[in-house]
Symmetry: C2
Subunit: 313 residues, 2 copies
C-alpha cells in the first residue's frame, strides 16, 4: 500500500466523523480556528532510521535539529509562525546517553532560534532502530493562512531559494562522501520560517507549500487542489550546480513554493528584495488546464523531460 | 538513560525558551489557553512493536484502537473532552494492505465512538517494526482542567474502576494464553472519556491523572506535585480476581485516579452513583507528609508491602 492509498482510505473512513471546526486534510498543516480571528496550524512528521536517515551518516545533533526543521517548514508553508512542538522518540537500549543528549541539543538549538517551546512528548525504548515523531504548532491570524488550493490562473510561481542541494548531498552521502557542502545541507536543512511568516502577511500571495518531494511533484499538489495547470521555465529554476534534474525532482530542499497574483508580481518582487536582500525566484505561471499538469519550457519552447521522480515511500 | 533522565534534561535545556502561554510539562497533557475562557489540551504517545505490543499477540484492529485509547485516556484525565487526533505510522514493507486497513478500522471505531476527528498525520515505511505515534487534542473550558498538582490534605482518593485486569492479561499473553478475558482487556482498554469530562465539570474534584503505570507509581506523581502524602487502604482497592499486587503495581489499566475535597466526598459519591450507576472506589486519603509517599493500610494497620514495580522503559 502506498502512502497515498492509506491517506485515501483514511479520508473515506473518517468522512462521517464530525470535524468540529478543523479543516479537511490536504495542506501541510491542519487548521483550527480558535476564536478572536486566530488559528492554530498543526503538523506532524515521523522519521525512521534507515528510511529517512542513516545513523552512521548523520550526527545525533544534526538529526535532532532536522527532525524539528522539517516540521517548522510545514508550519512556515502555511504562512504562520511556529510557536510550539511535541517530540516523541523511541531509542534502542544500546544508544548512549551522550547520543540522546546531543539529539536533544540539536532539537533545542533550532527551537531556541525561532522561539519554539517544547510543550510535550514521549520517550520509549525501541527493539530496533531510532524512531522520531515531531508535532509542530503555529499560531497566527486566520487571514494569513495560505492554502494549496488558492492558486489562480495568471499567478506567478516562485520558489524561496536554490533547489537540488539536498538531493546532491544525499547522492554524496550514499556514495560515502559525507563531508561535502551539499551533504551538510542535506543533513541541516534551513526551514524558511521568517519568509513564511512574511509571505503569510501579504494578500497578493495566494497558494503556498514547502518543497519536500521536489518541484515537479509538489507543484502538482497545488495545481490539483487549485484546478489549474502551470508553465515552468527550466532556465529560471535556481538549480544548484546547474543540475536541473536534482533541482526539479530532488526531495528535501524545504524551500517555500508559492504563487502570487500576477498583476501584483512586480511590486511584490521589489518588496521581497527590499526585505530579504535577494530577488525571489520566479519560475513560471499558473495557466488554464483541465488536468493538474506542468508544461516545461526552455527558451519559450515546450520540452518533454525524462527526469526520474523522487519518493520516500 | 531512563525516561525520567531524558525528561529532566529536556526541562533544563528548554528552561530558557519562552513558553508563550503553554503550561510547563508535568501533567498528562499540555494546556494552551486559546481565549474566550477555553483551553486546548494536547498529549502524545508512541507505541513501538516488541516494546508496547507483540504483533503476534494483538490484532491490527485492536492495536489501532488501543493506540488511540491510551491518548484519549490522557485527555480524559485532564477533565476535558477529546475532539481531535493526529496519527503517524511507520509500517514495514512486508505488511499487507489488509493489516493497515484493519489497523485504521480499529482506530476509527474508537474515534467515531467519541466523535474524535482525525485531523492530520504521517505515514512512512519502516525497515524494522511497526511504530505508531498518536496525538490527541481536547477542547474545553479552562476552569474544568484538573491537574496533578491540585490535591490537598484531607482529600479523598478515588479510582474510576477495577484495577489489575490489564497486568493479569499481559501475564496471560506472555504465557501464550491469548484468549482469556483479561488478555482481551489488556488489548482493548476502555478510556474513561465520559467520566473524565463529568469529573472536569465538578469543582470538588481536585487532582486527576490516568493509571498507566499502576496506582503505587502514579499516585506518587500527584503527591509529588501536590507536596503531600497519602494513606491507601489495600482492602478498598478494587482488585480484579483479588490480586492486589496486579491492581496496585500493574500497568495499563487506564482508569482515572482523582482526589475530591474531603468535606464534599459523600455528596460527590451520591451524585456519581446517580450518574453512572455504581459507586466510585474510594481507596484512601491525602495526608500531611514532607515526602510524597504512600502509607499502605490493612484493617487500619500500617503494612510494608513487597510488591514489584512496573515500568515500560
Amino acid at each position: 500500500m502506498t502512502e497515498f492509498g492509506l491517506i485515501e482510505y483514511v479520508a473515506q473512513l473518517f468522512g462521517s466523523v464530525e470535524r468540529q471546526g478543523w479543516e479537511a486534510i490536504g495542506d501541510d498543516c491542519t487548521v483550527l480556528p480558535i476564536g478572536g480571528g486566530e488559528v492554530l496550524v498543526i503538523t506532524t512528521d515521523m522519521l525512521q532510521e534507515d528510511v529517512h536517515f542513516l545513523r552512521s551518516a548523520t550526527s545525533a545533533r544534526e538529526l535532532g535539529r532536522k527532525s524539528l526543521a522539517v516540521n517548522l517548514s510545514d508550519v512556515a508553508a502555511m504562512g504562520i509562525k511556529p510557536v510550539a512542538a511535541l517530540l516523541s522518540v523511541a531509542l534502542p537500549k544500546n544508544l548512549t546517553d551522550e547520543w540522546a543528549k546531543e539529539f536533544l541539543d540539536g532539537f533545542h538549538s533550532l527551537a531556541a532560534q525561532y522561539g519554539v517551546a517544547l510543550v510535550g512528548g514521549d520517550t520509549t525504548s525501541s527493539k530496533s532502530g531510532v524512531s522520531i515523531n515531531v508535532v509542530a504548532i503555529g499560531r497566527g491570524r486566520a487571514e494569513c493562512v495560505k492554502r494549496r488550493s488558492s492558486a489562480r490562473v495568471g499567478d506567478a510561481i516562485y520558489v524561496g531559494g536554490e533547489l537540488g542541494a539536498s538531493a546532491l548531498g544525499l547522492r554524496d552521502i550514499l556514495s560515502g562522501e559525507l563531508d561535502t557542502c551539499n551533504a551538510a545541507i542535506h543533513r541541516n536543512p534551513e526551514p524558511q520560517v521568517e519568509l513564511g511568516e512574511w509571505l503569510g502577511e501579504r494578500g497578493e500571495v495566494r497558494a503556498m507549500m514547502d518543497l519536500s518531494d521536489g518541484l515537479a511533484s509538489d507543484l502538482c499538489h497545488i495545481l490539483k487542489l487549485s484546478c489549474c495547470g502551470a508553465e515552468v521555465d527550466v532556465d529560471a529554476v535556481p538549480a544548484v550546480e546547474g543540475d536541473i534534474e536534482a533541482a526539479v525532482c530532488g526531495g528535501e530542499d524545504y524551500k517555500l513554493l508559492f504563487t502570487v497574483d500576477g498583476s501584483a508580481a512586480e511590486q511584490f518582487e521589489r518588496c521581497f528584495e527590499q526585505k530579504f536582500g535577494y530577488a525571489p525566484y520566479r519560475v513560471g505561471r499558473v495557466v488554464v488546464s483541465s488536468v493538474p499538469q506542468i508544461v516545461w519550457l526552455k527558451s519559450g519552447q515546450r520540452i518533454t523531460p525524462s527526469w526520474r521522480g523522487f519518493t520516500h515511500f
